[in-house]
Symmetry: C2
Subunit: 323 residues, 2 copies
C-alpha cells in the first residue's frame, strides 16, 4: 500500500490558487495583503510586492531614480511605457549581477506585457522577474484529445516534462502550453508552441484548434517552480481544445522536438485522474485538466462534491487590470 499523499480535485485547486479571496475570506485577504506593498500605476493596483522585494527596491533606489516608494505602495517612475520599462530593466540588471534573487537565474530573455486599465500596456518586464512583483501574466494551454468512439473511450495526449528542466522537472503537462510574450496573441501563442513543443503543423492546428475560455488563478510559488518559494504569480491561461483522430488512424502524433518534453503519452480519463490524484501534474496544468473535465461533462454536480468551489476558483476574478 502506498502512503503517498492523495490530492482531491479541490486540493489541486488549493495548490494553484493559494492566495486568499477578498469575497469569501475577507479577513485572511486583508491580513495577507497587509504584509505587502501594493505595486501601483496611477491609483490602480497592478501587483503585490513582498517585503524582501521591497527591501531590494529600497537598496536599488540608492543607485538611481527609478522607483517611487511609500509605506504602502511602490510604483515605477517614468511617463511612458518605454521609460517605465527601462527603469525596471535597469533594476533587474543590478539584481541579476548581484545574484539577489534565485528566480532571476532562470532568466528567459523574453518580455511580458503588464497592463494598465483599459487594456493599455503599462510596461514590459523580463518573464522570470514577474513573480517578484506579483503582476498578472498570460499563457495559452491546449488539450489535444482523441474523442470517444464506439469502441474506444476518450483519451488525452499528456506530455512528461524533461527531467533536466529547471521548473517542475519530470511532471506531467498539458499537450501544448506556453507563456504569452510581447506581441503574441493567445491563439498565435498556442499555434507557435504546438510546433515547437509537439511538432504539430501550423496549418493543421489552425484548422482544428478550438478556443474554450481560460483558467485564472492566483498561484503562490512552491519550490518546484524554481527560485524562491512564496513569490506571487497570478495568471490567466487561455484554454484551447483540439480533437484529433486515433494515432493508429488519421490522427497526428505529438513528437518532442525542443528537449523540453521527455515523451507524449495517450492516457485515458481514468489514467489522467490517477496522475492528478498523485499530484504528478504541474499545478496549473492540473487546473486546465479539471476545467477540461468540467466542460466535457466528466466532472459534474452529481459526482464532484466541490464542483461549485472548483469551477469558480478556476475562473478567479483578478483585482488587476487585464489585457
Amino acid at each position: 500500500m502506498s502512503t503517498a499523499k492523495r490530492y482531491s480535485n479541490l486540493d489541486l485547486v488549493d495548490r494553484v490558487d493559494g492566495f486568499p479571496n477578498a469575497a469569501t475570506h475577507p479577513v485572511a485577504f486583508a491580513e495577507r495583503t497587509a504584509e505587502f506593498a501594493r505595486f501601483t500605476y496611477l491609483s490602480h493596483t497592478i501587483g503585490y510586492i513582498i517585503p524582501r522585494v521591497r527591501a531590494a527596491l529600497e537598496d536599488v533606489a540608492l543607485s538611481g531614480d527609478w522607483w517611487e516608494i511609500t509605506p504602502g505602495a511602490v510604483s515605477v517612475k517614468g511617463g511612458t511605457v518605454e521609460e517605465r520599462t527601462a527603469n525596471i530593466s535597469e533594476t533587474l540588471k543590478r539584481w541579476r549581477e548581484a545574484k539577489r534573487f534565485d528566480v532571476l537565474s532562470g532568466w528567459r530573455n523574453e518580455m511580458y506585457t503588464i497592463y494598465a486599465p483599459q487594456g493599455k500596456p503599462c510596461f514590459h518586464m523580463e518573464r522570470s522577474a514577474t513573480p517578484l512583483f506579483g503582476v498578472l501574466t498570460y499563457g495559452s494551454h491546449m488539450t489535444v484529445y482523441v474523442p470517444a468512439s464506439a469502441t474506444r473511450p476518450l483519451r488525452i495526449w499528456v506530455p512528461r516534462r524533461a527531467a533536466g528542466k529547471s521548473t517542475y522537472p519530470s511532471m506531467l503537462d498539458n499537450t501544448v502550453a506556453g507563456g504569452m510574450g510581447d506581441g503574441q496573441t493567445p491563439l498565435g501563442c498556442i499555434i507557435k508552441e504546438a510546433g515547437e513543443e509537439a511538432s504539430l503543423e501550423e496549418s493543421y492546428v489552425s484548422a482544428n484548434v478550438r478556443s474554450a475560455g481560460f483558467v485564472s488563478y492566483f498561484y503562490v510559488r512552491e519550490p518546484d517552480a524554481g527560485g524562491e518559494s512564496g513569490l506571487l504569480q497570478p495568471e490567466i491561461e487561455y484554454v484551447y481544445d483540439m480533437a484529433v483522430g486515433e494515432p493508429d488512424g488519421e490522427g497526428p502524433v505529438p513528437v518532442p522536438c525542443d528537449g523540453e518534453v521527455a515523451e507524449h503519452m495517450l492516457l485515458t480519463v481514468e489514467e489522467v485522474k490517477e496522475q492528478l490524484a498523485r499530484g504528478r501534474f504541474k499545478p496549473n496544468c492540473a487546473a486546465v485538466m479539471l476545467d477540461f473535465f468540467i466542460r466535457h461533462g466528466i466532472l459534474d454536480a452529481e459526482n464532484e462534491p466541490d464542483f461549485v468551489e472548483i469551477y469558480t476558483r478556476l475562473h478567479r476574478r483578478m483585482e488587476f487590470p487585464t489585457r
Copy 2:
C-alpha cells in the same frame, strides 16, 4: 434606422451581475453592503437584507419570537432546520396576508433549500421570497443545439416565453430551464423540466445531455423580474448542452406543453447574437448563451475585447455557503 439600445456582451453581463465585486471594486462593495443587514447563520453570511425588508422583519418580530435582529445582522431563530423553516414560513404568511411585498404575489408553493457551511441545509424557504433575503438559489439550464455539418451551420433551439407570464413576458429563453427545488439534483431538475417545458422524453434527454459547468452571478432585480425592483438574487445555474439531429432528420423538436412557452425557434448563432444585442433574452439566459459561445469557441480572446471580464464574471465566486 432603429434607435433602440444595443447591448454589448459586457452590457449583458452587467445586467445579470450588477452587484459590486469585493476584489475589483472594494469601495463600491463596502458602500453597497453597508446599506444592508447581513443575514447570518452562526457567524456566516448567508444573504443580505435590504432596509425595507429589515423594517418588515422588525414589524413581524412584534407578533412572534422568530428573529434575532441586531444593528448589522439578522438571523432566524431555531435550533433545527425545521424550526428555522417554520419561523420563516410564519413570517412570510403574515407578509403575504398583509400584501407587504409585491414579489410574494408570485407565490410558487415551491420550497428552495438555503445552505449552511459544508453543504448542510440551513432552512427551506418559499421560492418567491428568496430575493427578499438575498439568499443564494440554484437552477439548471440546457442549450439544445444542432451541431454544424458540411452543409449547415450550428443552430440553437430558442424558446420565446409566453406573453402572459408574470416574469419576463415574451422574452427569449434557454431551450430548457428551471429552478432547483427541494430534493432535486441539477441533472434531475433539467431532465424533469425538459419534459415539462419542451416535451423532450426523459430517456432521450438522459442519454444525450452533457454537463458543462455552471454560470454564477449576483443579480439585482429589474422591473421585468416581477415584484419590487432592487431585490438581490445571487444564483448558480448549472449548465447542460445537448447536441441533437436536424429537425427534418432524426432530431427531436421541442414542443411547448405547459403554457409557459409561446414557441421554439431554431436560430443560427448570428440570429442569437442579434437578439442578445437587442436585449431580447431574459438576463440570466443571455449569460448562459455567452457561456455556451465561449465554451464552443464562438467568442474568443481574438474577437471579444471583454473576454476576460465576461468569463470571470459569469463564474462569480459567492461569499455565501453553497450546496
